[in-house]
Each structure stands twice: as structure tokens, then as C-alpha cells.
Symmetry: C2
Subunit: 377 residues, 2 copies
């Protein structure tokens, strides 16, 4: 049985927690929600290479159990297309993929299978706690996963950050033109404070170029919105970064908050952009207290350098130390807490909300101004 | 014909520009000069592994032509024992090795050959200019090179830096005990200014430990003496470096000023100490204008990562930038000369000689005080 939803307005799409199938002029269609659109974009532009579509059951099972595709390639998180049982029952083979009201591609559905969501969550997120945003998404999604290759007829549309939307083909060309043999990528879903700038510059001292690669897909409601973040990157890059060594290119994926496994995924994705080094800080892609502070660094030791194919640069918590007179970490600064400029996330948000500037050793004033404006709206 | 020199006082040894052979109680002996002693120490402690002795002709030739030993192993600079024709003629096979007045080992001489000094200098130093200190040493040395394995009966004696004289076996044990899986080494023949501290700390942010590895063998007369340098390292480490992450261990080799080739040699030697990463700055092991600023970094591209076996970390010129508010380089700072704290070597030496403190952003005051005292003596 095919189900039909009409009108397919943006409002409708945004309500969906997982793609649903509809029928237009006799062809079965699936309207992609924000998360599915992000996955389709990552698959079809090569960000998630070697994936060619949504995972079938054999890949799904080995990924959640061993962080590998069926053929042995390292892949840490299943990229799946969940639908309801009803929708699944109604699909035979090909199905059109729809963004808003426009057909953008086709999926050759070769498998429909029931996931083991408990096992998926326990293995991928290290928890089955429904308060975890990644677990919550899995649990709320449809009970059947569709597997099969996808092809796009037209690009996925975006109404923001156009100049920073670069595909892996485009970044690779850019790096080649610039003559950058080594490029370090910095994944972020936060504004850049001095600590982040320090890590980026430390890495850039040893590489030819820096790709600031902010995730702009779906994030938690309490993360700083992408447009505000992009603005902070612009003001800081304008004043404190050498233009000929730094590229800003957004990462269209949605956050999964899968901590260690997502660190591997973020690294593999950046390798596909042509990047050679990847910064992994404290609690990368973490949320709450679900992961150990350095678990996302340690997980890289489970694979050979060749299997990962991009060099992780693992950093500790950074801060400005007044006694050193420079930024550092526990690894490079011998002094105590009393000399270090540290503010908790809660404290910084409170200051910015009140229109107070954090110390310049913690946040560049240009960045603080953007954040204060945003917080006060 | 054996020649005999008596008495073999320290004064005599210091006069020698190359080892000479003598006879004691019927056994042929060679008194090692400072440079030969340094080579013997590096060979017998494994610093120059895989070398087991002074190079024979086949190794010598391939090293100067291709930077490889006869068996293909990368080795950039010939480690040779030059003697006069007269001494060479008098040697048959085994010869005792003497430090000052004490027999410390034996060399099984298997080859006596005439070097091609012009070619050696042109290839190893990139010049045959006798004003180059490396070329000068080669040209002044004896006209016959002895090749063969060496064995020591007792350690080479030193009257300075005892606590910092660590063999590769000792540093490897230390790194293991500390649990350092990655260790970066910094070779230096100079006092540590803020720029050097910055490079070391940048590297340490991405590694588990730092080996400050100052060369204490023979240097040019106008380099800062080793005892003064060691004192500057002590005062700066005491106040600005985390003790549990940093080890000071001297490197007993003599400087050759062979620039790019010596950078490879310095890296291979540090690999033997158990080090995984090696800092290569501007004009590493350079002198005058004989080498391009970054030649000592580029040369690593001539070999595979496996052949070198230690990761070079290549840095540009570093400085404090007032507009950035931190240390950086052209790669990380977008500002101009007017914002950067830079002093020429000549200027710094002039200030220190006059008892003036350089800016704190250039030299830590604790280091400056040690240097001022030394310059004013």
C-alpha cells in the first residue's frame, strides 16, 4: 500500500522524524527529512566515500559490531534510511527521492530489513539511554531500514552558506592549486575560542594549509546556531588567520553525538575532502558524560594508519597561562590553575547573555561581540 | 713503520687535527682526537646504528654519492677515520684506540683507502670552499681513511654534563617507563630563545614527551659554549617546562655544518634514541649562506617515511606577534613586520654583551641573565 501526503510543504517536511513515502504521477517517492538529506548529500558528493547508498543488512551488522563494512573497510557508524513498516511494505524496487517539492534523485532499493536498535545504540553510542540525542533519533525513526544505491538528478538545494559549500572534488582542486601537500582539518560545531584557534595554529605550523570544517547539518537545540557560528569564523579569520593558508568549507552532515565512533567518521569524511591531518580534541563529538574525555582519541589505536588514511592530531584541553605568557595545555605548561585563564561553558554563556566580554585570552573580542549580539536576540 | 709520540698528554691530544698512531708495549695504538672520540662514542653506543665501525670504501662511496650504505640503508654523511699516509702504512690489522692516556678499545682495520675529498665535500657539504668549517675539517684531516669495526673495553670519559649523558639504551628505557609512545626531539647548538621554546611546545602538544637534545661535541669557535647553553636549558626547563614531559639529554656528536645531510643524520641518530618525531627548523645544521633556508626540510622528501623511520616536523621561522598576541610564523600570523618582535643574531649578541635584556617576547629573562653573565666574562 502506498501512502500519499499532500501538500508536501516545507512545514510538512520539517515535522517528519523520518522519511515517508508518497506517490506522484504513479512513481513511488520518499520525502527526505533534514537528516536523510544530509546523508544523501554526503553519500552522493563522496564525503562518505566509499558508500554509494544506504547500508544493506550485512554492512549494517558488521558496522555496528566491528566498525567495518562487509568488505573489511573501516566504517564506524551505519548510514541508514529508516522508514515505517507500512512504507517499507509498499516499496518494491526503485523509489524517487524528493527534497521539499522537487524530485532530486532515485534510490535502487535492494534490501528492507529490521535493525537491532538496542544493539545499534549500545555499540554506536555506548548507551541505550533515550536522553542521548543520537539514541533518541534512532529510537524515533522508522522500524525498517532500506538499503540500496542512490543517484541524484540534481544537487541538494541550500539557502545558506553557499560560498562555503565545497564538495570533496572542489576542496581537492583547491588544495592542489594552492600546492598544499598536507592539510589539517578542524571539525567544529561551536564558536572558535582562543583554545580552538591555538590548536588549529599549532597544527598549521606543521602542515601546509588549514581547512576549518564546521558541521552545519542538524545539531542539538542548545548548540550555537550555524549562522552565528559561521559569522564568528568570518570575523576571526579576517583578523587573525593568514588568508592564503586557511579555507573555510562547511561540512553538511548532521551531528550524531556518537563520540569516539563519530570522531572516526569525521576523520574519514575529511580524508575524502583531500585532507591529510585531522584534529581530535577532548570529548570529540561527545555530549553529556557518555564518553571518556580522551576516548575519541584512543579509538584510533584500534586501526592501522593505513586503514584510517588520515593522521589524527590528538590534543589536550588548552588554555592561556599567565605564568607562561602563552597558550598551552597540561602537556606544555607546568603551572597551576591559579595562573590559567579558564571559564566553564556555562560561565561563558552567562557572560555573553549578559552582554559581558569574556577575557581576551579566552575569546577574541571580535568573536565575543558576534556571540553577545546573538545571545541578546 | 710505527711512530711513537711521548708523553701523550692532553695537551698533545688537543693539538692533533686527526688521530695518529703510536706504539705502547708492542701494540699499535691510535690516539683519538675530539672528533674521532665523538664518532667512536656515537658508533659504540648505537647513536649511529647501524654503523659498527668506521666506513669502508664501498660504504663511503655510496654514502657520498647516494646517501646510502652499500646495503641500501639511508646514511647521509660518511663517518670515517682519517690518518696520515705514514700512519696508514704502518697498520696491518688490529689497532688499539686510546683516549688521553688510556686504552679504551680496539679497531679491526679491514680497509685503508684514499678518499675523494673534492667529491666528498661537494656532495656532503654542497661546496668545496675551505672557509666552510666542515670542508676545512675534511681537507685538514689525514689523506687515508681507515675502515673497520670497533669495540670498546671501557666507556669514553667525560668531565662534564654527566647527569645529561644518556645512551640510546637509557633514553629508550626512560621513555618506556614514562609510557611515552611518541617523543619529539629538538636538536640544538644554541641557547633556547622563545622561538625555539614555541616550536618545542607546538610539537609537544601532539606528542607524549620532548627530548631536548643539545649537541655538545665540537662546534665552531663563535657558537655559544656548551656549558653556557646547558645552563640556559636548565633555567628555562625549571620554570617553563613540565618536568614529567621533558627530558634533557646531550648529543655527543661533533657539528659538521652539513645542513640538509646533517639534518638527516641528526634525525636518524634521534630515532636510535627511541624518538619518533624530529624538529627541523630553518637552515638546520647550516652555516653562512651555503644552504637554502628550507633545504634541510626538503631533503626528507627524497626518502620514504619507512626509510627514515622518524617523522620530521618542519617549521618556519617563529616570532612573537603583538597583533596576534601570541607566537607564530608566516604560516599562522597574517600580520606584518611592524607587529613582530624580531632581533637579528648580531643584535641579540650585541645587547647581551652590553648587559642589556632582550625583550621577554624574544628571550626569557632567566635565559638572558645566564647569557649576559657569560658574554661579560
Amino acid at each position: 500500500m502506498d501512502i500519499s501526503i499532500s501538500p508536501r510543504s516545507k512545514a510538512v517536511q520539517n515535522r517528519l522524524t523520518s522519511p515517508v513515502k508518497i506517490v506522484r504521477e504513479g512513481f513511488p517517492e520518499i520525502i527526505l527529512d533534514t537528516r536523510a538529506l544530509a546523508d544523501v548529500e554526503c553519500i552522493t558528493t563522496g564525503i562518505y566515500s566509499p558508500l554509494k547508498g544506504f547500508l544493506g543488512k550485512a554492512d549494517y551488522t558488521r558496522v555496528i559490531e566491528e566498525m567495518r563494512l562487509q568488505n573489511g573497510t573501516v566504517w564506524p557508524i551505519p548510514v541508514t534510511l529508516p522508514v515505517s513498516q507500512e512504507v517499507a511494505d509498499s516499496i518494491k524496487d526503485d523509489v524517487l527521492l524528493v527534497q521539499d517539492d522537487e524530485v532530486i534523485g532515485i534510490m535502487h532499493v535492494t534490501e528492507k530489513y529490521s535493525p537491532d536498535k538496542e544493539k545499534e545504540c549500545a555499540n554506536v553510542y555506548g548507551t541505550t539511554d533515550p536522553a542521548h540525542p543520537g539514541v533518541k533519533a534512532v529510537m524515533e525513526n522508522g522500524e525498517v531500514y532500506l538499503g540500496g544505491k542512490i543517484e541524484l538528478f540534481s544537487e541538494i538545494k541550500h539557502d545558506d552558506f553557499q560560498k562555503y559549500r565545497l564538495t570533496p572534488a572542489q576542496t581537492r582542486t583547491y588544495f592542489k592549486e594552492k600546492g598544499w601537500k598536507t592539510v589539517v582539518a578542524f571539525q567544529t560545531r561551536n564558536p572558535l575560542h582562543r583554545a580552538h584557534e591555538y590548536l588549529q595554529k599549532v597544527a598549521l605550523e606543521m602542515t601546509d594549509g588549514l581547512l576549518i570544517s564546521p558541521l552545519v547539518g542538524a545539531t542539538k537545540a542548545d548548540d550555537v546556531p550555524a549562522d552565528v557560528r559561521i559569522h564568528t569564523y568570518e570575523v576571526i579569520m579576517d583578523k587573525y588567520y593568514p588568508k592564503e593558508r586557511v579555507l573555510l568549507g562547511v561540512f553538511p552532515a548532521a551531528m550524531r553525538y556518537a563520540g569516539p565512533r563519530e570522531a572516526i567518521m569525521h576523520a574519514l569524511a575529511r580524508k575524502n575532502y583531500g585532507v591529510t591531518h585531522f584534529i581530535v580534541g577532548r570529548d570529540h563529538a561527545g555530549v553529556g558524560d557518555y564518553y571518556g574525555t580522551y576516548d575519541a582519541q584512543k579509538i584510533f589505536n584500534q586501526f592501522t594508519a593505513e586503514e584510517i588514511g588520515i593522521t589524527p592530531l590528538c590534543f589536550e584541553h588548552a588554555f592561556y597561562c599567565k605564568a607562561c605568557g602563552h597558550m598551552g595545555s597540561d602537556k606544555t605548561c607546568p603551572h597551576g590553575k591559579e595562573d590559567r585563564v579558564h571559564l566553564s561553558g556555562t560561565k561563558v554563556r552567562a557572560m555573553l547573555s549578559n552582554g559581558e566580554m569574556p577575557p581576551g585570552e579566552f575569546t577574541r573580542p571580535e568573536v565575543a561581540k558576534v556571540l553577545i549580539e546573538a545571545y541578546q536576540k
